[in-house]
Symmetry: C2
Subunit: 205 residues, 2 copies
DNA sequence: CCTCATCCTGACCATTTGGTCAATATTCGC
DNA sequence: GCGAATATTGACCAAATGGTCAGGATGAGG
């Protein structure tokens, strides 16, 4: 997953490509694709602008590489749904894991948020392809559980959407959440309690 | 609400300012602040670039004017919560209205999404000021209902966040929702059913 | 129809920004 | 230590973009 089948990378290539992607993640997630500049990425990475362009031919390529590299990380939690597990526990674990990811990887969350907001110019094939397949699988599992009467009757697609919306909201709109809550709150801890409660009530049979 | 206390606007001013804000809404909501150009706004508005700058001194000013002009529209549904109404009905109506707004005003939703994603550089005072006050009022109403046992015990702040997240998701991430669902779906109609069910189950005592 | 304020535009400017390139420095295999 | 491959950079370019301005067009009031 870490390296493609391409030619071997030297140590320096590996290190610098990593730095660039790390800097790009910071830059893109803070300002969106158009708002981030190669200079900014270069500074974050501790490299000169031409050197950044030496490793990635264009800003677009950096962005695309970053998105595809992070997609697996981002979708992994959904794959961990165990069809043989206890339905409610499985869903709650998914929700909890996804919320942890919002807390621990807010930049990744915002990166995808910007991309989708913009109409997903670099992800459109994936949205209707791999992502959709992945969702379909999950929907099949959920539908099975619902048909067995082990989960309340809810639209499984929208159940998935609701999990995404509710968990990613805390990363993508973090400034709003914190501003509205005011000081003295731990948004993620509170959200864990709230969301477990929410999904427990919604999905109980 | 439509006109400030400033000097009278001529008919032409009124018409052109409106066109510009309309064009800017399209441009900003599609590409974000940095991604939208004055040229683009001018074209949407059917005016020349210098003419746009004649009415609004800068791109920043257009953006700021647009945000503040739309804030009332955006927050209105929350104000319609009737403390004397039936709690569950009131909340469900709020959810439904908010979802309708996602369907009918997706550009507005995305405009705010971009702004908050970016750290709300033009809204920070409002988030921690007027918005927070508004939320506090609503929280007070919800808390009252909960204390009276007319609503399930849930964190009222996070209840509000969940309403925002779940409804705005359908506007902000519409491409994703449609790509995953595939053709032959009406996301908003399905969401209405799903969300009513969700909140009914979550909030029933 | 005249005048004045408002409205509009083409031409222009400075800055930013994505990207190139020749030249130099560094690393690596031997 | 040496030559080839790799890495790095300063200088530079063209396009895009936010914004200015002098002057011309157009509207409103008398």
């Amino acid at each position: 997953m870490t390296d493609q089948n391409g030619p071997q990378l030297t140590r320096i290539q590996q290190r610098n490509r990593e730095r660039i992607l790390e800097g790009a993640l910071t830059a893109f997630s803070a300002n969106g694709f158009r708002g981030a500049t190669i200079d900014q990425i270069a500074e974050e990475a501790g490299l000169s602008k031409p050197n950044v362009l030496y490793y990635f031919g264009s800003k677009d390529e950096i962005h695309k590489t970053l998105l595809t590299a992070l997609l697996d990380l981002w979708l992994a939690p959904m794959l961990s749904l165990d069809p043989d597990g206890e339905p409610l526990d499985e869903v709650l674990r998914y929700v909890s894991t996804k919320l942890d990811m919002s807390r621990d990887f807010p930049r990744e969350s915002r990166l995808f948020a910007y991309e989708v907001l913009q109409g997903a110019p670099h992800l459109s094939e994936i949205l209707g392809g791999r992502l959709r397949d992945l969702v379909d699988e999950t929907v099949a599992v959920l539908t099975g559980w619902i048909d067995e009467g082990r989960l309340a009757k809810v639209d499984p697609h929208h159940l998935i959407f609701s999990i995404w919306a509710l968990t990613q909201h805390y990363a993508d709109f973090e400034v709003q959440v914190r501003a509205v809550l005011g000081p003295g709150h731990d948004p993620y801890a509170e959200a864990q309690v709230f969301l477990e409660n929410l999904f427990r009530r919604m999905l109980a049979t």
